[in-house]
């Protein structure tokens, strides 16, 4: 399958005394294996759009196809890996159990054959993210960056073909953020999943993505799609390289144009 996510005419309005239109007329196709970033100002509906793709929220208008069907069907097959803003690790469970969570829930999905999802070995992924020595630790014993690495390990162990990440590094300090970002780049280049990533950071979007989707302020509409021409692998690509800076400037300019237009 070449299209992992297909959105047509997506709209979402939050009801209330004064209804708030969060998204309007979103058309987007994400190809399988692509790393797409949703970028926009606060209130542009990036996270809402991601939640609609995950099936955590319903759209008021339009259609959503995820891996060839409705999002909830993909979720039932455990084909969606979700990384929320906080690491969302279970504090009572050890790192190994947290990373292997997908094997403990919705076991019905494991009994049928799913060629799209390829669960990975927990210890292998923990070694990949540098947490092999902390497999028996509890999340409270880990730093913020290590917790976020454990959260990344959880989705890569799940082996879902589609990963949805909602500002996963927003709570980290700049140094930790840049290190965990490189970890994600490394993991993605090794496992080649389809990723839809939400961020506020133009630098992060430029460094990680194949394509950046720029959203306007509320209601969120797509105002620009920017292809990122930086060759992969990018693990050694410095965040302050000319290529990254050029894409970052393009993203920021598109954001400003979208906000003023």
């Amino acid at each position: 399958m070449s299209e992992a996510v297909v959105l047509r005419g997506i709209g979402r309005t939050f009801a209330g005394r004064r209804p708030i239109a969060a998204l309007d007329g979103i058309d987007l196709t994400v190809r399988a294996g692509e790393f797409v970033t949703l970028f926009g100002p606060s209130g542009s509906g990036k996270s809402t759009l991601l939640r609609i793709i995950a099936g955590l929220e319903r759209a008021d208008a339009g259609t959503v196809q995820v891996l060839g069907g409705p999002p909830r069907e993909a979720a039932r097959r455990k084909d969606i890996g979700w990384v929320p803003q906080n690491a969302a690790l279970l504090p009572w469970a050890r790192v190994r159990t947290n990373a292997g969570l997908s094997a403990l829930v919705n076991r019905r999905a494991d009994r049928s054959s799913h060629p799209q999802r390829v669960p990975q070995d927990v210890d292998g992924i923990l070694a990949e993210v540098g947490l092999a020595d902390f497999a028996d630790a509890r999340p409270g014993q880990l730093s913020g960056g290590m917790q976020q690495r454990a959260a990344l390990a959880r989705v890569f162990v799940q082996g879902a073909p589609l990963l949805l990440m909602d500002e996963p590094f927003s709570a980290l300090d700049e140094i930790t953020r840049s290190s965990v970002r490189l970890q994600l780049l490394d993991l993605w280049e090794r496992h080649r999943k389809t990723v839809v990533f939400v961020t506020h950071s133009a630098e992060e979007a430029a460094l990680l993505s194949d394509r950046v989707i720029v959203l306007s302020p509320r209601p969120g509409r797509i105002t620009a799609e920017i292809e990122v021409p930086i060759p992969r692998p990018r693990a050694d690509c410095a965040a302050d390289s000319d290529a990254v800076r050029a894409v970052e400037r393009e993203i920021t300019a598109a954001l400003r144009a979208g906000a003023s237009g």
Partner: protein, 246 residues
């Protein structure tokens, strides 16, 4: 823990107890009809240990049975409410009504219904233990990290998975807090219910002692019930420390 902290943790309560002991002795000598001499309490306990053990046993059976029934019912109801929120508006007002109805008023009505048996004591203990656990369990089961809930939902985890692997463990601190409140409430409920229609238990012992102005017996029964309640709280705290290790 540093030596200073240990000294403070042991010394402060010891100093307070000493002060209370002095105050007690002064009151007892000034007005013997209010408090018995402090030395008469251990003498009373040593003279009739079987009597107090028997009555404490009766009260403990009522309190612990009531605690088990009340806490069990509260947990089942909280689980039902979390999975069917529509029940919340039906259940909470009734639970609140039960909670605000004075135990002293219920106890005689239960004696009429169940006779002079231990059943009214157990029912009152269960009623008093029910509400604190219900409120804490509801708060605990609902107070789940949103990110974790989304991770579970993104994998289409079943309700059982969400409850057993997320809601239950993340609510343990609430549940232990509820258990502590419910244990004290069950002891109070059992003793108060023994005030009416019971010839056994610490509550009945206190009432009998009051009738005959047997101050040493009354105060030994009161102190024994307080110490046993304290021991129950300590036991629950110990189990919490073993279970909740994060």
């Amino acid at each position: 823990m540093s030596a200073r902290r240990v000294a403070l943790a042991v010394g402060a309560p010891a100093a307070l107890l000493l002060l209370l002991g002095l105050l007690w002795s002064w009151t007892a000598s000034a007005n013997p009809s209010v408090l018995p001499p402090l030395a008469s309490l251990p003498a009373e306990l040593a003279a009739r240990p079987d009597f107090y053990v028997r009555n404490l046993g009766h009260t403990l059976v009522s309190a612990l049975s009531g605690f088990g029934i009340g806490v069990g019912a509260a947990l089942l109801l909280a689980i039902a409410v979390v999975h069917a929120p529509v029940l919340r508006s039906a259940v909470l007002p009734v639970a609140l009504l039960l909670n605000v109805t004075p135990v002293v008023a219920i106890a005689p009505a239960l004696v009429v219904a169940f006779g002079f048996t231990q059943v009214p004591n157990i029912v009152v203990a269960a009623l008093t233990a029910f509400f604190p656990m219900l409120i804490n369990a509801l708060a605990g089961f609902r107070n789940v990290d949103r990110g974790s809930l989304e991770v579970f939902r993104s994998m289409a985890a079943s309700r059982t998975d969400v409850f057993l692997r997320l809601r239950l463990p993340s609510s343990l601190r609430y549940l232990f807090a509820g258990a502590r409140l419910s244990a004290s409430a069950a002891m109070v409920g059992a003793i108060v219910s023994e005030f009416t229609g019971s010839t056994r238990g610490l509550g009945a012992t206190i009432v009998t002692a009051t009738t005959y102005l047997n101050l040493p017996q009354m105060w030994v029964a009161i102190l024994v019930s307080a110490l046993v309640s304290l021991a129950l709280l300590g036991l629950i705290g110990l189990v919490e420390r073993i279970v909740v290790r994060w």
